[in-house]
């Protein structure tokens, strides 16, 4: 009895193994499927092409209805967005897939912190979009960031992060400070150190339980975002420890960290979100994309209390690009979609939805934030403040290890001083050691 059942298992086992292994192999090969119409595509006949768009965070294309609009314009195209929330998870994945030549999406988003690495090491894996699109649409420095030395443009600019300062009018009033946005901008014009000086004044009469800013790293990012040279020089040499821009931004951050004006929060932590809701800080360095974040996290309690003033210096913080990998099976269609998504009209639509600021100046005159958002920020002229900043942002020299170097300064150096009570000299030394490790020296 036992053996007879066993015997019959032989062929079954064979079949099982065969099925398993072929299943596995098929699973490997079929990573980026195409062809069949897709859930987001909403039906459609055969021969319909599915384009995949790989993004991180919230790009807002889905939210602004751009995919639906494009699919309506092109009935033969279905679009599927593959979102990874965090860039530090997204980018390593993209790097390995690009090099393997398979598994990439038809359009792959690239964050500004990674764009130089992509330009310097992955240019061969991307289609030259400079030949396809009208390059004059973009801000020069934005285009230059995605262009190789021999003139190949691997990504089209999406948004940028022109800088402003968002502040709580109600808290400023209680602390006896100026509340008018133009006069405030006048007070700190030209130097973030002046903004920090105002912080000292704020802390003298600070409403109970509030600090002047959210974190020292925030003002560091804002200040360093206005320097042409930060971690790399024009020729690609690492110069972070000699760079004037880094030194100045560091000093400003150190003044902030050591004079008890920061709420000592870590940006994008849950406690930081709570800080918005509870109103524990009065100002925050505010790139355009932060507008939507503040509105969402501060909620109703912050409505009409926030205001926006021009930043001390023009600076850029964040922003992205869209590239088309050569491994895409529908290059022609993907290029067309990337061009369409990054065109000024579409960038304006994303701005209207979530205040991601366009990298194409021709869109600026037509920008209209949502009425709710304008009301939320005390009717501040958002478009004007951010476009003034955008037009004066200096070109920045970036390098392949920009992101880890930045993290070493902000998450090690500054955080040690701010939260562990180290001296600025100790913090600088710790950051230096970390960067040495990053560069493999």
């Amino acid at each position: 009895m036992r053996t007879s059942t066993r015997r019959s298992h032989g062929p079954v086992a064979f079949a099982a193994v065969a099925a398993l292994t072929t299943g596995l192999l098929a699973g490997c090969a079929n990573d980026s499927d195409d062809g069949s119409p897709d859930a987001t595509g909403g039906g459609g006949g055969k021969g319909r092409i599915t384009l995949t768009v790989g993004t991180f965070g919230v790009f807002g294309y889905q939210q602004a209805g751009l995919y639906d609009e494009y699919m309506k314009l092109h009935p033969d195209i279905a679009i599927k967005e593959n979102v990874t929330t965090r860039t530090d998870v997204y980018w390593p994945k993209v790097l390995t897939r690009l090099q393997a030549g398979s598994g990439t999406d038809d359009i792959q988003a690239i964050e500004v912190g990674n764009i130089t690495e992509a330009v310097q090491t992955q240019a061969a894996k991307f289609v030259d979009l400079g030949k396809e699109a009208d390059k004059s649409q973009w801000l020069d420095w934005k285009l230059a960031q995605a262009t190789t030395k021999d003139g190949k443009t691997i990504g089209l600019g999406t948004d940028i992060g022109p800088m402003a300062v968002c502040y709580r009018k109600d808290l400023f009033r209680k602390a006896g400070l100026e509340t008018d946005r133009t006069k405030l901008a006048e007070q700190w014009k030209g130097d973030w150190a002046k903004y920090v000086d105002l912080g000292k004044q704020y802390m003298k009469k600070a409403p109970k339980g509030t600090k002047f800013m959210d974190s020292a790293a925030s003002v560091y990012n804002a200040a360093v975002g206005g320097a042409s040279e930060r971690y790399y020089d024009k020729d690609g040499n690492v110069v972070w420890d000699k760079s004037e821009g880094v030194k100045k931004a560091w000093d400003v951050a150190m003044t902030a960290a050591t004079s008890d004006m920061s709420a000592k929060l870590k940006q994008f932590d849950p406690t930081w979100d709570q800080g918005f809701a509870n109103g524990t800080f009065a100002t925050i360095a505010c790139p355009a994309w932060m507008i939507g974040y503040i509105e969402q996290k501060s909620g109703d309690s912050g409505k009409g209390k926030w205001d926006v003033a021009a930043a001390p210096t023009a600076a850029n913080w964040g922003g992205s690009f869209l590239g088309v990998p050569t491994a895409s099976r529908h290059q022609k269609e993907a290029i067309a979609l990337a061009k369409w998504l990054t065109a000024p009209e579409q960038q304006a639509k994303v701005f209207a939805k979530q205040a991601s600021f366009p990298s194409t100046p021709s869109a600026y005159p037509s920008l209209k934030p949502q009425a709710d958002t304008t009301a939320y920020f005390s009717d501040a002229p958002l478009t004007q403040i951010f476009s003034d900043s955008a037009k004066t942002i200096p070109a920045q020299y970036l390098g392949p290890k920009d992101k880890p170097i930045d993290s070493a300064i902000a998450d090690v150096g500054i955080l040690q001083v701010e939260q562990k009570g180290k001296t600025p000299a100790q913090g600088w030394e710790a950051a230096a050691k970390e960067i040495k490790d990053v560069l493999g020296q």
Binding site: S4, G10, F14, V17, P92, V412, L415, K420, V438, G440
Partner: protein, 342 residues
């Protein structure tokens, strides 16, 4: 073992085990009993081959999967660890010899990570196993609703690391976290759990303890229930109280199980990754601004995927592997000695 034994015993047992009601088997038995030469020998060879090969076929899926997803990556990692490789240029490898390893030995970040792994490992594993043993002992008594208790014990284990860590991160948050709020009632100043040296390690360990204690308790409980009750009876006759029974009967009988949980927990502690990563929040792979809770797993991830030095990350991975081998050998020697001493 059983299967090859069965294969040898095949003709006889099938004849015995297939009385009339199994037509297929009976026909087979008949065929073998009166061998008409050609077909039967071919057939029996086929059967014998089937008997010999099918066990291997049955276990093959494991080895195929193991080979493809464990062995090949393991060897490939070894190859990488001897080269300078950047994540952004995987095909561009330059020979480094043992350069990555000597770099690690002289790197204070590596030693720091090793030390953290060890200290977090100790403060999470020891209390965890002691608590599990104690809980299992309690559950081993006749209790009302014992199944319910057991299920409750296993719930933390069934919770995802991410969910558990998220909740713990909020509990431990500096500003407005529940733990600091409770401490304030006993007059303790708020602790910056994430950035303090011992506080962060304590917090990470507490997540590990919370998640794994119930799991280990259930393993102990299963082993306890296998202990023959006459041992307890005779111990009771000798006048041993509950505590003495636990010390002199339960613990000695559990020795192999305890050893097993120690090994499994040690492996888990060496590879500790998810809890500290998520506890750190943004750029959690740094394990705090001073790397105060950066474990080896985090250091490897930071080097390989955040910074992009894949060669060095591979060297860290292999160092971890070697450390585990050493731990396993020590464990083996220990268990051998334990087995010798009654």
């Amino acid at each position: 073992m059983t299967s090859s034994h069965e294969a040898l015993a095949h003709p006889a047992s099938s004849a015995e085990a297939a009385p009339g009601n199994q037509p297929g088997a009976a026909r087979g038995a008949h065929g073998r009993g009166t061998p008409p030469k050609g077909t039967a020998s071919w057939r029996s060879r086929l059967y014998r081959w089937d008997m010999k090969a099918s066990p291997y076929v049955l276990i093959a899926p494991f080895f195929v999967v193991f080979g493809a997803f464990s062995l090949v990556p393991l060897l490939y990692t070894a190859w990488y660890s001897l080269h300078h490789v950047q994540l952004s240029a995987l095909d561009h490898q330059t020979w480094a010899g043992l350069g990555n390893y000597t770099n690690l030995l002289s790197s204070e970040f590596f030693w720091n990570a090793l030390q953290n792994t060890f200290s977090i490992g100790v403060i999470s594993t020891v209390p965890q196993l002691l608590a599990a043993l104690w809980l299992a002992h309690l559950l081993n008594y006749r209790l009302r609703g014992s199944t319910a208790w057991r299920v409750v014990m296993l719930t933390p284990y069934a919770t995802s690391v991410a969910a558990a860590t998220l909740v713990f991160t909020l509990l431990y948050s500096w500003d407005g976290g529940m733990i600091n709020w409770l401490l304030h009632f006993v007059g303790v100043d708020p602790v910056n759990w994430r950035e303090s040296d011992w506080g962060s390690q304590f917090a990470v360990s507490s997540i590990v303890i919370w998640r794994w204690t119930g799991y280990n308790a259930l393993i102990y409980l299963a082993a306890m229930q296998a202990i023959p009750s006459d041992l307890y009876e005779s111990a009771a006759l000798d006048g041993a109280g509950r505590r003495q029974q636990f010390r002199h009967v339960t613990v000695p009988m559990l020795r192999p199980t305890i050893l097993f949980t120690v090994i499994v927990s040690t492996i888990g502690a060496t590879q500790l990754f998810g809890e500290p990563l998520l506890f750190g929040g943004v750029s959690g792979s740094k394990g705090g601004s001073e790397h105060q809770y950066q474990t080896l797993g985090l250091y490897m991830y930071d080097q390989g995927w955040i910074i992009g030095n894949l060669g060095k990350a591979s060297a860290i991975a292999w160092s971890m592997f070697l450390i585990l081998v050493i731990v396993a050998v020590v464990n083996m020697l220990l268990s051998r000695r334990l087995r010798k001493s009654p």
